[in-house]
Amino acid sequence: MTFKQMFTSSVGKKLVMAFTGIFLVLFLVVHAGLNACIWAMDGGITFNKAAHFMGSFIVPRILEIGLFLGIFLHIIQGYMITLENRSKRKIGYEVNYSKGSKWYSRSMAILGTILLMFFIIHWKHFWIPSRITGVEEMDLGNGFVVHNLYAVMQDTFQNQWVVLFYVISCIALAYHLAHGFQSAFKTIGVHNKRYHLMISSIGYGFAIIIPLAFAMMPISFYLHWVN
């Protein structure tokens, strides 16, 4: 048995989704934690320092490569599994069976597509200006100059449509996580009832808290809760 055989079987393909999914869940914790620095109420100094650390220190930069690999693997594999699974029933039903499962469990590809559209716009808003096209600088004294990403956020989130799109994307993320979090652990083999109950409870909590924290960020800027 080769690793190729292992990861290309129907169970192995799901293992790829689960491992990359759990990695992306961990990334969300880091991302939400760092972004929460906007609520330090110091005009963005703490946030810009945190963003500078992530952008200049070697460890997060290496992890970033892993993050991009993880995201692309998750997206490509997700679409391939979805298309393959759809092809397994050439003639569909007259009456669909919808009572036995949650709508969001059946709609992971659609929710994922909303998230993909979000990522493209989100990268354009922040990652590309920060890394490639350049942003306004902030002088923190003693020659310590950092990107003023806080100002970019302030500026971006004055547009109500952008704020609305971010909030909708956070709702899509919430439902994607509500299924994905516990499903990933089932896929890697957690069948013990005690652990499963614990994981699904944490999963639902995670699916509410993290997207809510993210959604509050554009709202905070739009409503001038932070300056």
């Binding site: 048995m1 393909k13 397994k88 569909g92 039903y93 007259e94 992971m108 069948h191 009832k193």
Partner: protein, 253 residues
Amino acid sequence: MSQNTMNLKVKVWRQKNANTAGAFVTYDVAGISDEMSFLEMMDILNERLITEGGDPVAFDHDCREGICGMCSMYINGKPHGPWQANTTCQLHMRAFKDGETIVIEPWRANSFPIVKDLTVDRSAFDRIIQAGGYISVNTGNAVDGNSLPIEKQNADDAFAAAMCIGCGACVAACKNSSAMLFLSAKVSHLALLPQGAPERKSRVLNMVAQMDKEGFGSCTNTGACEATCPKEISIANIARLNKEYLGASLSAE
């Protein structure tokens, strides 16, 4: 208790064979007692079709007591009809109302090709079993059943998994046409018992490989299979199968 009779319409999928296109045909069935079983209602319809010189509706059935796994039928958008933990043969007409139209479809999956009307070829399941759903035993006298100590919880879980009758409702219910609930029941049943230990690793690898070869989809843990299973096979078995597969594929040469 007095019985009620009702008049119904049944909208049935009719298809001559695997190579021809099928279509729905609606029949009126009158004077159906609510104490009849669903299959008796189908028998009455077929008797009438035969009397009229028509072609009776082909459907699978055998024991008619909910244990053989032969009956199928996707009734009003759910495998085995509206009741929970129930096979089509144990479904009774009191589940329906007078004047109702009942939509009856075959199991839909590429891996279950239609033989005729509501009968599908489920031999893919037999080939999955042949790939590893067995144990090795020594020849000679049968070993006394109590000679092998088995922990009570494992015995109970193995028995619950062994309840699977292989009807294919899980595949029919799954949006991915995945056979994972069936496969996980068979793998769990043997993995939990000492008798299944010798082939434990090769079993899960070979059975997953055969399932993929048969063209079933992959599991996305939606839970539709568990909700419709007539034997209430737990979806926890799928997580156990995943663990078995991960362990076996990592340690295989």
